[in-house]
């Protein structure tokens, strides 16, 4: 089974995000960058499939020199090979542009299965995985919590609003991860040592034979970033007893806030 995992490096979720001087991006200097948490789940699932069925796990990412760290982490977890598409023409791409680049790169990589995070926790677009599948002309299943592969087919349980559903697809296919699919492993020390020797190729758009004009002009453009309205800490309800506090809270919710 040839498995490819789409990976993105993102600010760690505990980061306090600050808006950069240009007003349309965030300050990156003090931020710790990590593998997107949903991609960690994707790497883990790819490794489990490989461990059960044999095959190879390739990690692919569009990024910068810095992204090498996140790819190395995936290699340390046990993936076999990494590919980084690093090209100035890829900067400023929107999600569709990134998906076009990934789809172009995937033309050269044999794959039966592609796994991606349901979303990257920076842009929260929920778009790249499905878009890559669309550009490749293969089926996609999103928000997967369980999968089973047999006889050239994948059967996935997925989260839907209000419950779960089960969908089956022929391979090759792409699916995106939901929490609950697995608990990603930590990279072991021997894993980290081995990862240093694993192949990690950096490619330009020319290397994947993609004309930068074909990446397309971005159709979504961030005009401004703002912080959500700051919430002020409100009233701490005082009272002699818990009963008094409960009475006061319900009164406030009913009479002042009018939410019950």
């Amino acid at each position: 089974m040839e498995i490819v995992v789409l990976l993105k490096q993102v600010p760690a979720t505990e980061s306090l995000v600050k808006i950069a001087d240009d007003g349309v991006s965030i300050k990156t200097d003090d931020i710790k960058f990590v593998m997107n948490p949903y991609d960690e789940i994707a790497v883990e699932e790819a490794l489990r499939i490989k461990e059960a069925q044999g095959g190879k796990v390739t990690i692919i990412s569009v990024g910068t020199d810095k992204t090498v760290e996140a790819i190395r982490t995936a290699l340390a977890m046990g993936a076999d090979e990494g590919i980084l598409i690093n090209d100035p023409a890829a900067e400023g791409c929107d999600a569709l542009g990134i998906a076009r680049i990934l789809a172009a790169a995937l033309k050269d990589i044999p794959c039966d299965l592609i796994i991606a995070g349901q979303r990257a926790v920076d842009d929260d677009n929920y778009q790249v995985g499905s878009a890559v599948a669309e550009f490749m002309g293969i089926p996609s299943i999103s928000m997967v919590t369980k999968e089973e592969i047999a006889d050239g087919k994948i059967k996935c349980q997925r989260s839907i609003d209000g419950g779960t559903s089960v969908i089956e697809s022929p391979l090759p296919a792409l699916f995106t991860t939901q929490r609950g699919l697995n608990e990603p492993r930590y990279a072991s020390l021997p894993g980290i040592m081995k990862a240093k020797k694993k192949p990690l190729d950096t490619k330009s758009l020319a290397d994947i034979r993609l004309d930068s004009a074909k990446v397309g002009e971005p159709v979504t453009r961030i005009k401004a970033m703002n912080f959500p309205p700051e919430r002020e800490g409100g009233k701490i309800i005082e009272g002699e007893t818990a009963q008094d506090k409960a009475v006061e809270l319900v009164k406030l919710l009913h009479e002042d806030a009018k939410v019950i």
Binding site: V121, S130, A131, P218, V250, I260
Partner: protein, 321 residues
């Protein structure tokens, strides 16, 4: 931009999701500022009867694609049919709910049609030829104004963010022929938790965190049931296995914006705060008076949630008579 607005309705087992009415209402407002029509699209099997209802939310036309192949949502079948409709109708913008289904469908459509897509929009404005949306990024830590350019825009709206407004549309139902095209995916089954209100659509969310100390959420569940709300959980409670992943509120879970959010035994890690700060009213109940959650809460009670929650529930019961 003289073309119309196309709103994609979402129904499950013959019932429209609340976000459908929100999408139609917002679509109507967009159509109003552009001086164009709002067309609703309903796909499914046996959905003609329920479709008429959408006229009440401003739909001038209601296109109904009724076909057994569409009885359950399948990404490829739905994308094929909607892409055909978009090609024929040539709308200026498509609006739909950023539900699990809406996100899946819109991502696939954006790639097929080269459309500008914005997910989880909380507001939409039209300025001449351009559509500008506001949407959260970084799990809600940032609100970005995003311009959608190009010929077609897809606006996926966050559930509970847009107001529902009834307005008279002509509401003429037109049955259309649909061709589901090449379908690779096969629907096997689905399981819905009956009677459970979806976290992202709930008006009230009662969440329990590490302070719950275990998987017994009965005090939280009782209050949620009384307020016809949903139960949420912090990441640490989910990681402990006390609640399912689907209940998680926060940057790596669901972002919610109910009218009332009650956080019980949740200290308020930055990832959790990002996921609930857009709630209208926040109540925090925590033993630790220094817990960061109190800095975001409109009302706070320092105390033991197992003592306080049942007392509050009892008071609400009295109020409701």
């Amino acid at each position: 931009m003289s073309q119309g607005i196309l709103a994609i309705a979402e129904q499950i087992d013959g019932v429209f999701r609340k976000v459908t009415y929100e999408a139609l209402s917002e679509g109507k407002r967009m159509a109003g500022s552009l001086g164009c029509d709002l067309t609703a699209v309903v796909l499914g099997s046996g959905v003609e009867d329920i479709s008429k209802d959408l006229g009440k939310y401003g739909a001038d036309r209601i296109l109904v694609g009724d076909n057994p192949a569409l009885s359950e949502y399948l990404t490829d079948a739905y994308a094929n049919v909607i892409a055909d409709i978009i090609e024929k109708e040539d709308p200026a913008a498509v609006i739909l709910g950023a539900s699990v289904q809406g996100r899946d469908l819109s991502a696939r459509l954006s790639a097929r049609l080269g459309a500008a897509l914005a997910m989880d929009c909380v507001s939409v404005s039209i300025d001449g030829e351009s559509v500008i949306v506001t949407r959260p990024m970084y799990g809600g830590k940032i609100l970005a104004d995003v311009a959608l350019e190009g010929k077609l825009r897809i606006v996926a709206i966050r559930p509970n963010a847009m107001s529902i407004e009834e307005s008279e549309g002509a509401g003429a139902v037109e049955k259309i022929d649909v061709d589901a095209g090449k379908i690779d995916l096969n629907f096997v089954e689905k399981k819905l938790e009956t009677g459970k209100i979806d976290l992202t659509e709930a008006d009230v969310v009662v969440s329990g965190g590490r302070g719950m100390g275990g998987s017994d959420y009965s005090v939280v569940e009782e209050m949620a049931a009384l307020l016809e709300g949903a139960v949420g959980a912090s990441r640490s409670a989910v990681d402990e296995g006390w609640r399912p992943h689907a209940d998680q509120v926060g940057q790596t879970g669901k972002v919610v914006s109910p009218n009332l959010y009650i956080a019980a035994g949740i200290s308020g890690a930055i990832q959790h705060l990002a996921g609930m700060s857009s709630s209208k009213v926040i109540v925090a109940i925590n033993k630790d008076s220094e817990a960061p959650i109190f800095s975001k809460a409109d009302y706070g009670i320092v105390g033991d949630l197992f003592e306080v929650l049942p007392l509050v529930t009892a008071e609400i019961k009295k109020l409701k008579g």
